[in-house]
Symmetry: C3
Subunit: 403 residues, 3 copies
C-alpha cells in the first residue's frame, strides 16, 4: 500500500466515522419529536401546543447551553473547548459533539414530561440551561470521563469500572430522578387530588401518544447501536439485545397491564431504557428478561404512584426512566457476568455504586435546580392560567379546531 492509498484509506475511515455518528445524531434528534408527541398525546388537549413548544425550545436551549458553556466547563482545563478553539479541521470534532449534544438534550425533555400541564415556560427553560451548562457536565465528567478518579476507584475496589453502555443511568436514570425531584417541588396538577379522592386525566389522543412511542423506538436504535466512538466498534449484538428487550417489554406490558394501551406502549420504552446499560455484554435471552422485568416494574410502580398525593408525574417519567435506568445498570451487572451467559468485565457492586451516584446527583441536583427556581422565580403557572390551559394562557392558541 503506497502512501497515497494509505491517505485515501484514512480519509475514508474518517468520513465514515463522521457519517455514522451524524446519522446516529439525526436519529436522536428524531427522538425529541418522540418526546414531544408522547406528551401531546398524554396531556389534556388544552396543553398540547404548550408541550410541543416546550420540547422544541428545551432542545434549543440545551444546544446552546451545552455547546457554549457545558462542553467548555467539561473540557476545561483539560483541553480547549470545541466552540472557542480552532475549527479548521472540524470534521473530527463536530459529529460526535452533535451526537452527544442531542443525546443529553433528552434529559430536560424527559423531565419536562413529569411536570407538564402546570409549569411556567421561561423558568423551565432556565432549569434546562442550568442542567445542561452545569449539572450534567459534572456527572459526565465524574462517570463517563473519569475526571475525578471515580472509575479508577471502582476498578480498584471491584476489579471493574461502572459499565453503562448507552447511558441508562447517565441520561435516563439521572433525568428520571431529577424529574422526581421536580415533580415533588412543583406539586400535583389542579383537581388531580380532591377531597373525594383522585381524579384521573385520561390521555387526550392515543394516536399521538403511540406516534411518539414509535418515533422513540426507531430513534433508540441510533441512540444505542451508533453510540460507539468509531465505526469499527459497531456491535451487532447490541441491535439484537435492543429488539429483544423491546419485545419483552411490550409483551410483559400487555400481560401485566391487562391490555392497557399506555402500558403496552410504555412497555416498549421500559425495555429500551433498561437495555441501554448492558446491551453490549448480555445474551439476547437475558435482554428479553431485562426488558420484561422493566415493563412489569413500570406497570406496578406507575399504578402505585397514581395513588400517591405528592407525586403527580404526568408521563410517568420517574418509573420509566428513573427506575428502569437503575434496573438496567443493575441488570448489566447481573447478566453481564459470564456465569449468567454474559461477556464479563462487569461488577454488580460497581454497577450499584454507579446507580447510586446517578440517583443522588439526579435527585439532589433536580431538587436544587427546580427548588431554587421555584423559590426565587416561581416554577408554576397561576391557578387561572393552569385552569384555562397553557395553550390559551401562554400561546394564545387552541391546539386544534374543527372549523
Amino acid at each position: 500500500m503506497d502512501a497515497l492509498q494509505e491517505v485515501q484509506q484514512e480519509v475514508l475511515v474518517r468520513a465514515l466515522d463522521a457519517l455514522f455518528i451524524i446519522q446516529g445524531g439525526a436519529l436522536v434528534l428524531l427522538m425529541h419529536a418522540g418526546f414531544a408527541f408522547v406528551e401531546v398525546g398524554t396531556v389534556r388537549r388544552k396543553n398540547q401546543a404548550n408541550g410541543l413548544c416546550r420540547v422544541l425550545c428545551d432542545l434549543s436551549v440545551s444546544v446552546l447551553a451545552y455547546t457554549l458553556i457545558g462542553s467548555v466547563i467539561f473540557a476545561w482545563p483539560f483541553s480547549p473547548p470545541a466552540i472557542w478553539s480552532s475549527w479548521a479541521a472540524p470534521a473530527d470534532i463536530w459529529p460526535r459533539h452533535f451526537f452527544i449534544l442531542l443525546s443529553i438534550a433528552a434529559i430536560p425533555a424527559i423531565i419536562s414530561g413529569g411536570i407538564a400541564e402546570r409549569v411556567r415556560f421561561v423558568p423551565q427553560l432556565l432549569a434546562t440551561a442550568l442542567i445542561m451548562a452545569f449539572l450534567f457536565p459534572f456527572l459526565d465528567a465524574l462517570v463517563v470521563h473519569d475526571r475525578f478518579g471515580f472509575q479508577a476507584q471502582l476498578c480498584c475496589w471491584f476489579a471493574a469500572p461502572f459499565h453503562d453502555y448507552a447511558d441508562a443511568v447517565v441520561i435516563h436514570g439521572f433525568a428520571g430522578w431529577a424529574a422526581l425531584a421536580a415533580t415533588l417541588v412543583i406539586g400535583p396538577r389542579q383537581g388531580r387530588f380532591g377531597p373525594k379522592g383522585r381524579k384521573d386525566f385520561p390521555p387526550s389522543n392515543i394516536p399521538f401518544m403511540a406516534l411518539g412511542t414509535w418515533i422513540l423506538m426507531v430513534g433508540w436504535f441510533g441512540f444505542t447501536v451508533l453510540a460507539v466512538p468509531a465505526i469499527h466498534q459497531i456491535n451487532g449484538l447490541v441491535v439484537m439485545n435492543v429488539v429483544m428487550a423491546m419485545a419483552g417489554g411490550i409483551v410483559a406490558g400487555l400481560i401485566i397491564g391487562r391490555g392497557d394501551t399506555g402500558f403496552i406502549h410504555n412497555g416498549a420504552l421500559s425495555g429500551l431504557v433498561a437495555i441501554c446499560a448492558g446491551a453490549d455484554v448480555m445474551h439476547p435471552l437475558a435482554a428479553l428478561l431485562t426488558g420484561s422485568v422493566a415493563s412489569v416494574g413500570f406497570v406496578l410502580i406507575f399504578t402505585r404512584i397514581q395513588q400517591r398525593r405528592r407525586v403527580d408525574d404526568v408521563l410517568g417519567v420517574w418509573p420509566l426512566h428513573g427506575v428502569n435506568g437503575i434496573w438496567g445498570v443493575v441488570a448489566a451487572g447481573l447478566f453481564g457476568q459470564t456465569a449468567l451467559g454474559g461477556l464479563g468485565g462487569v461488577s454488580l457492586y460497581a454497577q450499584i455504586v454507579g446507580a447510586l451516584v446517578g440517583i443522588v446527583v439526579g435527585f439532589i441536583g433536580g431538587l436544587l435546580v427546580y427548588g431554587l427556581i421555584h423559590l426565587f422565580i416561581g416554577l408554576r403557572l397561576s391557578p387561572e392560567q393552569e385552569a384555562r390551559g397553557a395553550d390559551l394562557s401562554l400561546h394564545r392558541i387552541r391546539s386544534s379546531r374543527n372549523e
Copy 2:
C-alpha cells in the same frame, strides 16, 4: 498491503456490512409504524387504539416467535440456530437476523389490516406466532433458501430460478393471500352488509392514514435498497426503479381513482409492492409501467370487492399486497427480459410457478391458521364488543377526547 492493514480493511468492511443492514432494519421497523397509522386512519374511531396495540404486540410476538422458534426450525438441521449457539462473535449474525426479523414481521402486520375492527386480541397474536414460528419458515426454506430443491428444479425446467429481489411474493404476496383467507374465515364487520345493501365505513382520519403511507414510503427504501447481503452489492438501479414505480402508482391512482384520497395514497403503496420483485433487473421505464399497472389493478379490484359480501377487507390488503405481489413477480418475469429492456436472467414461467406457490402457501396456510383458531378458540369479538368498539371493550379507553 501488510497484514495489519488487511485486518483493518476486513474489520471496516464487516462493520459497514453490519451498519448498513442495521439501518435497513431500522427503516423496516419504521414501516411497522406505517402499518399502524394506515390502520388508525382507516378504521372507525372506536377501534383506533386497538389497531395501535395490535400492531405493536404483533411485532413483539413476531420477534419472539421467529427468533426463538422459526429461525431455529429454519436452521435445523443445517446449521446451529443463532439464538442457541455461541454468540461470541455476534456482529456478523445479528444485524442480518434483525433485518429479516423486522421484514417478515410485516406479514402479520399486513394480515392484521384485513381483519381489523372485529378480531379478538390474543387469538390473533396466536395466529401471528404460528405464522412466524412455522408457516413462514417453511415458505422461506422452500423459495429463498432452496432447502427442498425447489429453485434447482425451476432452473432445470426454465433455465432460471424464481426471482424475487425484495420479497414481493415471499412477504407481500404471501401475506396478502393469507389475509384473504383470514378475511373469509372471520366474515364481514357488523352492519357492513344489511338487507338494504352495503354500508360504507369511511376512514376516520385521513391525516393519520396519509402519515402511515408516508412512513411506509420512506421505510420502503430500507426494505428494498438495503435488501442485499453485503454493502458492495448495493445497487443504484433499485432506488430509481422504486421511485419510478411509486410515482407511476400515484399518478395512475389519481387518474383512475378520480381524485380519491385513498386511491392516491394506496397507489404509492401498490407501485412499491409491485416493484419489489424486479427492482434489480428492470429498466426505470418498465418500473414506471409496473407501478402504474399495479395501481390501476388496485383501484379496479378494490372497487369490485367492496360489493362482494364475503370479503370485508378493511384496508384492502389482499388487492394491495396479495394481487400486487403476484403482479410484481410476473412483471419481473416480463420486463426483466433483455428483449423488453431488462437485464435478463429471469424466466416468466419460473416467476409464474413461484407466484402460484406463494398464493397456495399463503391461502392454504392462512385458512389453516386462522380457520383452526376460529374453530377451536374463536377469532371474532362478541357482537356487543364489536358494536361498542374494540377500544372500550378491550382496552377500556377512548382513542381521543376533546377535554
Copy 3:
C-alpha cells in the same frame, strides 16, 4: 496493494458513495411528508385531505417531469441523459439522480403551501410539471452547472463564484419567490379580507403542523450534510452549523414571537433555510447569528404581510423560503469571509448577484408559469368549491370524523 485489493477498495468506495447519497435522498423524501403535514396542520380542516393529495401528486409529477424531460434538457447537448442512455452500470448514475430529484421536488411542494385552500388540482400539477421540466433546469444549468459561463463571469469579476452549499437560493429562494408570484396571481382566499378588515384563519391542527416541522428538521440533515458529491467530502462543520442555526431560529422565534407556536416552529425552519448557503464556510457562532436573524426576519415580515391585501401566503412560504434563502446567501458572503471567522473563498458581491438571479428567475418564472395557466386554464377553484372546501369538492371526503 495488489490489483485485486485495489478493485475491492474501489468497489467499496463506490458502494459507499451510492449508499450515503441514497440515505440522503430517503431523508429528503421524508421532508416531503414534512411539507404535507405542515400544510395539513395549518389549513382549515375542510382542506386537509386536499393538501395531502396535492403534496403526494406534486412529488410524483416532479419525479416524472424531471426524470423524463428536465434532466434530459439539462444534459443535452452536453451528455446523454440518464433515463435514455445505457443503464448497464447504473449504480453510479441513479443514486445522485434520486437525491437531486427529491431535493428539487421540494420546489413545487414549497410553492403549494402558499396557494393552498383555493388552487385547482390538475392546473397546479401542470405548473409543477412546467417548473420541473423547464424552469428549474434552466436555473440549475445557469448557477450550479455553469452552462452559460455565469459562474466563470462571477469569478472573473469578484474573484469568487456564487457559493450556495445546499441550495438556499437554487431551491428555497427560487421556490419562495415563485410562490410570491403564484400567490399574487391567484389572489387571497375567500373571506380573508372583507369590508370590515382582515379575518384570520387559525391553524386547524397544531400537532400536525408541529409534526411536519419535526419531520422537516430531521430530513434537513439529509438535505445538508449529505449534499456532497462523494463520501470523503462529508463535512462535520455542516452538521454543527445546521444545529446552531436551528437552535438560534427557535430561540429568536420564541422571543420575538412572544411565545407564538407558529413562530417557534417556523423559527426552526427559518434557521434551517438560511444556513443552507454557507453551512460549510461559517463559524458555528456565525451560524447561530444567521439562524436567529432569519427567524426575526420571518416574524417581522410574516406579521407585516398578514395586513397586506394582495398577498395571502397561507404557510408563509415567501418569508420562510424566499426571504430567508436570500438572507442565507448574503450571510454566507458575510460570515464566510475570514475576517468574520469564516473559511473564505466567498465574495459578498457574487452572493448578491446570485441572489438577484434567483429572485428574478423565481419571480418572473413563477409569474409566467402560474400567470399563463391562470389566464388560459384557470388556477382557482370556483367560489362554491372553495367555500365547501377542497376535500368535499375535489375528493368527496371529509378529513376526519368522530364516528
